[in-house]
């Protein structure tokens, strides 16, 4: 597994007495799209939040692009976070800044780009998601789906090598879900490495290279979508799919 972009070994996270992520192993290669599904409270969010150190793991290792990050080594995780973009359920744009300011803030403040370069990059990215004309708008002037598309390109402006999505369409009106999923599909087609927690089974079927079923803080089963959806091996996977697909 030396060519894995992300390699997770025995990852654990506990909150007090309660272990929420209970030993996860996962390898993701460059360009792969992994979709994580599982019941509510199974630790999906906690798991992907550990991958960019929004939560500090209580045990195990995360290796991104050959750099090992041991549990508790916050400094190293911070450095790696720069390679990992994340999009949340509640499109967290900064409300007091225009779309353009949202997108250029981090690249400029972290010294990654000059302002002019950052603005040019931002406009190109906005073009890709059909929102170039909204560059001067404020988040409150955009629909939920538009805000979420901006949140995606804001993360892309940092040129991440890995993108994490935590239920990016769950808070959206049904009619805007499609626009956001299309942006993600496009991103996958362009070869971005992605880990996506979602309830959108259609997206998983169409885009995922691998679907991971999560339960009780563990990977129960991982397989390509056709295999996992059509012939799940584990009883718990079968049960879960029977519930969500009907």
């Amino acid at each position: 597994m030396s060519d894995a972009l992300l390699s997770v070994r025995d990852l654990r996270k506990r909150f007090g007495e309660h272990e929420v992520v209970t030993g996860v192993d996962l390898d993701v290669v460059q360009g792969e799209v992994v979709v994580i599904i599982g019941p509510s409270g199974s630790g999906k969010s906690t798991f992907i939040r550990c991958l960019n150190s929004l939560e500090a793991p209580s045990g195990g290792t995360v290796v991104i692009d050959g750099t090992t990050v041991s549990a508790g080594d916050a400094k190293a995780l911070d450095r790696l976070r720069k390679d990992v973009g994340m999009v949340f359920q509640d499109y967290t744009l900064f409300p007091h800044m225009s779309v353009m300011a949202n997108m250029t803030l981090a690249p400029v403040k972290l010294g990654r780009m000059k302002r002019a370069e950052a603005e040019e990059t931002a406009l190109k990215l906005l073009d890709r998601v059909g929102l170039r004309h909204k560059a001067d708008a404020y988040p409150s002037e955009l629909s939920g789906g538009q805000q979420q598309r901006v949140a995606i390109v804001r993360a892309l402006a940092m040129k991440p090598r890995l993108m994490l999505f935590d239920e990016p369409t769950s808070a959206l009106d049904p009619e805007t879900v499609g626009d956001v999923l299309n942006v993600m599909k496009e991103l996958a087609r362009e070869g971005m490495t992605m880990i996506v927690v979602t309830h959108e089974m259609g997206f998983a079927r169409e885009v995922a290279d691998r679907v991971v079923f999560f339960d009780a803080g563990k990977v129960v089963e991982a397989a390509p979508p056709t295999e996992l959806f059509n012939t799940p091996k584990e009883a718990r996977t079968q049960q879960f799919l029977a519930n969500v697909l009907h």
């Binding site: 150190s53 967290t92 900064f94 409300p95 007091h96 803030l105 993360a155």
Partner: protein, 221 residues
Amino acid sequence: MDFDVNYLIEQWPALLDGVLMTLQVSLLAIGFSLLIGVVGGAIRLFRLPLLSQIVVLYVELIRNTPILVQLFFIFYGLPAVGLGLSLYWSGVLCLSLWAGAYQIENIRGGLATVERGMLEASRALSLRPTQYFCLIALPIAVRTSLPASLNTAISLLKNSSYLQAIGLAELTFVAVDRIATDFRAIEMFSAICVIYLSLVAVLALLTGRLSAYLQRPFQHQ
């Protein structure tokens, strides 16, 4: 009743000096107290060990003791341990520390309304905690805490009249000083009431404008 307007016209230059002193000391202290509020608010937000406890202690101390005692402590107490300040700076320090405690609470209240998602988004973008505070949290928090902060500023202006107790030549001191020689209490106190009312009105007007500007909806142009 005999109300001598000519007396007031005569005394106007002295009153004006008092007004200028009151304004100077108050504006400086408003600035310092906001600074204390922002720094103290940040310390509380990030729960910095030790410093956080010191801030809590400071706020409680100020809010639960009379301002006059605080003033005497600074002006008569501190010189005893070699930290004597001039009359002027004792006054500024007293008002700054007094209002600073309230500004910490005001700004903390505003910071508490900033959604947790803002911090997470900042961290996911690798912004540092200080960048999060200055660029994201504070600008959002100011909108909510502004009315309370302005009230504190107005209270500070009114409380500057306590400084007459240490002999700083601000407006109240000038009035009391004149009454001691001229015995024109009704004229003097009427005059400074009107002056304080006007100062507060001007401050309220300015800050009303400022808050309308700062609280305009998040929209372009």
